[in-house]
């Protein structure tokens, strides 16, 4: 593993001080091992790309990091201190927010209600819709996200707009760490560009460290400082974006695919062509 880890990446992380580090995390669901042994770190202000095949364990890792589910073993250090997340709310109160692959938006609710879901502004026992509407409108404008109105139901928005709302929501509370699960999945090039611009802008502001889960290497290399590859529940590759290329990453995955194919051949299972 050390052979694929560039010294520069290690040096950079040691100098800046990691905001988050994960040590020997594993996650089992009954007999299924989703993560076997993951160690990784995230530098302050860094954008880290987490790549991997479907089922490699990317989303599982993200759900552990945002407090949605606990790890089976291992520990998480937030700014150098060991921490056990009790819930999503707990992680959020510590400055960690996530945008899930399914976006966690409620189609039947308006944009502003989604923006403030579970962090509503209240006026006594009642929702303060006026304030939420106003804040949502301002926040979206600030981020350069254009939608018809904050009053429309989320169901009426396009995929890119929905993704943008989900990102906008997660950065609203100024998190220290932002986790994005497949923010570009199921999105056209134009819509994907909106999200990448958002990430770039957040990076320039420099207040937030970001982990992006993706499987489109080209797009990730464009915005990430560093990339990790997760295979079979382990981190197998860790390099700065500048030190690697789409070709190298592709080759790694193709090699894995080739190996899987050979194993099938050896065990007598031939891929069927028909």
């Amino acid at each position: 593993m050390t052979s694929t880890t560039s010294d520069a990446a290690a040096a950079a992380s040691a100098a800046g001080g990691d905001i988050l580090s994960v040590e020997h995390i594993s996650k089992r669901y009954g007999a299924v091992t989703a993560l076997s042994d993951v160690s990784m770190h995230l530098g302050r202000g860094e954008v880290l790309g987490l790549l991997g095949d479907n089922g490699a364990g990317k989303s599982t890792l993200l759900k552990i990091l945002c407090g949605f589910q606990p790890a089976t073993t291992g520990r998480i250090l937030l700014e150098g201190e060991e921490i056990v997340f009790k819930s999503v709310d707990h992680a959020r109160s510590l400055g960690i927010d996530a945008v899930y692959q399914d976006l966690a938006l409620v189609n039947q609710l308006s944009v502003y209600h989604n923006m403030f879901l579970n962090r509503e502004r209240n006026n006594g026992p009642l929702l303060n819709n006026r304030v939420m509407r106003k804040l949502a409108r301002e926040h979206l404008e600030e981020m350069g996200i254009r939608i018809p109105s904050v009053n429309v139901e989320v169901a009426k928005l396009s995929g890119g707009q929905r993704q943008a709302i989900a990102v906008a929501r997660s950065v609203y509370s100024n998190p220290k760490i932002l986790l994005l699960d497949e923010p570009l999945a199921a999105m056209g090039v134009k819509e994907g560009a909106i999200i990448l611009d958002l990430v770039r802008e957040l990076k320039e502001q420099g207040n937030v460290s970001i982990i992006i889960i993706a499987h489109n290497y080209g797009q990730v290399l464009e915005v990430c400082d560093r990339v990790n590859l997760i295979q079979h529940g382990e981190i197998t590759f860790d390099k700065r974006s500048a030190d690697t290329s789409v070709a190298e990453l592709t080759e790694l995955v193709v090699a894995e695919y080739r190996k899987a194919l050979e194993e099938r051949h050896r065990s007598g299972q031939r891929p069927r062509l028909s």
Partner: protein, 319 residues
């Protein structure tokens, strides 16, 4: 509100139907809007459905249903009677314990559904039968009289002519605000609209479901007491599936979706008024009540088709 904006409201269609029916029966019989019929129509026929429908709307929105609420309704006045007449419990305390029984049944329904993982249809089918069995065993399936001790307070709960309807209106107002203007209501919609998403947003989805099951059964117990006081008897055949299904029908006519995420208390209120207007109107103008169920069944289907079509139109209108 402009005409177009008004029509886009989910409740608009059912409001038009309600007004149309009221005008029709008022023209067909001068007795329909007469003072003696008003309380029959609104208090006796409409109010119990309205109040139970409030609970069913909350549950349907968060993706659940309660089939047992009508049996909580049956059991509540019996429990009050047992406590007062057999155990010497003071009247008001007996009423409070009967209401708490509702909460306990709601908790059990929620526990079996949310924590054990049974579908609520099955959970409440089971608890409903159990409650009916308890009523029939303990009462020997015989009616009982209202204990004289609680006749005074019973006046305020249900025996005064308008009491049930006034309670219904107050509860509708309260729960309309709860559903549309509070965190609880917003989270109820979120849980039904996107369960996983609600969890990911950190909403305590179990708590929302527990709460709504408990509200529903509490309202069921309250209606049972009301009807007991209003009819001045405690009847083992009161309640049951009929008021529950009427309440679900009212919710559906009023625009509540069975799949969760969508529904309004005002719509269910109007839906219940429609059902009560048909029930009461038919008997007032002297038409047999027998074909009524055909109309109810048709109304459910028409309302549901309208909902589906509306959803399709909305879908088509998205840009």
């Amino acid at each position: 509100m402009g005409g177009a904006a008004f029509l886009r409201q989910r409740e608009a269609t059912v409001l038009v139907v309600t007004i149309g029916l009221i005008i029709y029966f008022a023209l067909a019989s001068s007795n329909f809007l007469g003072s003696s019929n008003l309380t029959t129509w609104l208090s006796e026929d409409a109010a119990p459905i309205i109040i139970i429908a409030i609970g069913e709307v909350l549950l349907l929105i968060c993706g659940e249903i309660d089939l047992s609420v009508g049996f909580v309704y049956t059991f509540a006045p019996f429990l009050m009677h047992y406590l007062i007449d057999f155990y010497g419990v003071p009247g008001i305390l007996a009423i409070i314990i009967s209401l708490l029984m509702g909460l306990a049944v709601g908790w059990l329904n929620a526990f079996l559904t949310v924590s054990v993982g049974l579908p609520s249809f099955i959970t409440t089918l089971g608890t409903g039968f159990i409650l009916l069995g308890i009523v029939d065993t303990t009462s020997h399936a015989q009616p009982a009289s209202i204990p004289t001790k609680v006749l005074g307070i019973g006046h305020w709960i249900g025996s005064y002519g308008w009491a049930e309807f006034i309670w219904a209106v107050i509860l509708v107002a309260i729960f309309h605000v709860v559903l549309t203007r509070t965190r609880w209501g917003l989270h109820t919609v979120a849980v039904g609209g996107n369960l996983l998403g609600a969890q990911e947003a950190g909403i305590k989805v179990k708590r929302i479901k527990y709460g709504n099951f408990m509200i529903t059964a509490l309202l069921g117990a309250f209606v049972g007491l009301q009807v007991g006081f209003q009819t001045n008897t405690i009847d083992p055949t009161a309640g049951g599936y009929t008021p529950m299904f009427y309440a679900v029908t009212a919710a559906v006519i009023g625009g509540t979706a069975m799949l969760g995420g969508v529904g309004t208390i005002l719509g269910a209120f109007l839906g219940a008024i429609v059902l009560a207007t048909l029930t009461d109107g038919f008997s007032i103008i002297g038409i047999s009540a027998n074909p009524l169920d055909i109309i109810f069944g048709g109304a459910i289907l028409v309302a549901m088709i309208a909902n589906v079509q509306l959803a399709r139109l909305r879908e088509a209108g998205r840009s």
